[in-house]
Symmetry: C2
Subunit: 74 residues, 2 copies
Amino acid sequence: MAVRKGKVINNIRRIRLARTALTQVELAAMVGATRQTIIAIEGGKYAPSMELAFRIARAFGEPFEDVFEFDPDG
Amino acid sequence: MAVRKGKVINNIRRIRLARTALTQVELAAMVGATRQTIIAIEGGKYAPSMELAFRIARAFGEPFEDVFEFDPDG
DNA sequence: GATTTACGTAAAATATGTTTGACATTGAAA
DNA sequence: TTTCAATGTCAAACATATTTTACGTAAATC
């Protein structure tokens, strides 16, 4: 039984709308990514790179682990 | 002037040796990665994926942001 | 001095994340 | 009812992360 890899969950959409009221385009610009990337990450298509993840948390002014959570059983 | 991307710094080597006294092979096995990956990440060749980063922090029993830090000006 | 353990380098192949560009849908506003 | 902003889908190209395999070195130990 190989090591469990888990899943990273993000609260980007919730925070973007509830706390900051940014559009995807605005957020993308703030963090130096494209709209497609924001869409894909919000939609759970894949997890962002570490660099992008930190930039997003900073753009929100939220602690990293409030934006990104780890589900070890995912 | 494009958005600054910053750099992710990790304290894996320090924690691995000082706190847990694990070898690279042992750590790799614990987190489901290869020795090469641990070497590359410790050596700053690249940042790990989010999933791997969370697994490493958990393997150490350390808070995520104690293991991985963001340098916005890197 | 041969063997073993831990760490390092390097390169090719594969997997995952990011960009670019084009087009579709929905709701709000003119 | 048309226009526009925001969101979504899709696919190809590109960049980065990870694995696999092989070989090199230094220190400890037999």
